[in-house]
Subunit: 140 residues, 3 copies
């Protein structure tokens, strides 16, 4: 068994949900050396997150943004952590609802995703800036 | 260290939350060869998901279905991705709230779950059909 | 590649969100032996969970508690699984929203968390008691 690890920096994305499968594959080409294993993608931030979902229709990603704004509304009056702006505490909660990592099987040197699956960067802040990811692949 | 990987197909389950711990154990008997490791279960779909929760009282799984229908209601009027039916976009969101994989420790050849823990298939579609899982176990 | 695994017991925490990064590092000092790998932390319970979020301002953890009580209210009248008290079924659902494990990259013998990231125990019950975690680290 082998381990490959690489830290990469994404360009700044606007608030919303964005497909980044391609950026991840480019960031760790050693995935192709593994017959059977796993890739973990970890985001080193607490106001952006990662998930796996539909990779084809852009309105799916728009609907994610709409619904997460309903689930965690910036109009909530009970938040105490407000000094970084109304989009900060909501971003922390959205991040934990979605999670700070995704893990995908590797089979025959490729990510073994379903036909319609892609990896999303979920940018919850209005101006989140560049985000750092750690890519760790291992297997045999 | 060793890696074992197997892709399995579940029978079609009706919409709701279902215990599938047994199907997973049957799908990868090599778990018994690992003294210390992890099992990842990954679902290759974006409208069904996986989680770990209470394995005894069926009303817990019914209450999950009731509450997720409140958290992500099909009556929401702001969804744009509607051409696959009212249960499609809600299924995508529920899937990301719960996640497309679970990872469980393996200890002495067995899943090291708590007494009350089981693995759930969360079928969010009305007619989701058969679902494919990738089981990856590794360790020493 | 090597695997290290240890089961630890946390002291009872009150209902709410609590930083436990230090307890985890103390529980598996072998993390320092890994140049590149992953640590998984798994909780063996269905009414408490784990997540990664902001490690500095205590009001962030208070706001998590406030908002999860809104997302999964004990006043909901449709729950059938009620015989263990009003905080039980809600705890099961909160646990699955947040998840029963977190996985963090290990780089040069340390957890490769972002500056502001810490690991939270999310205690959803009023009196949850001691909680058991399984720590599994592997890599090279």
């Amino acid at each position: 068994m082998q381990t490959f690890q690489q830290e990469i920096q994404l360009p700044a994305f606007k608030r919303g949900f964005h497909l980044i499968t391609h950026e991840i594959l480019e960031g760790l080409p050693e995935i192709s050396q593994l017959n059977a294993g796993l890739l973990q993608v970890f985001i080193k931030h607490t106001s952006a997150s990662l998930t796996i979902n539909e990779n084809a229709d852009p309105t799916v990603r728009e609907d994610f943004e709409s619904h997460f704004n309903v689930l965690v509304p910036e109009s909530a009056t009970y938040f105490k952590h407000t000094f970084e702006g109304p989009d900060d505490m909501t971003s922390h909660i959205k991040s934990s609802l979605l999670g700070s990592s995704v893990t995908v099987p590797i089979t025959n040197g490729r990510l073994n995703l379903g036909t319609w699956q892609g990896i999303y960067l979920c940018e919850h802040r209005n101006y989140g800036g560049q985000r750092r990811l750690v890519l760790t692949a291992f297997g045999s």
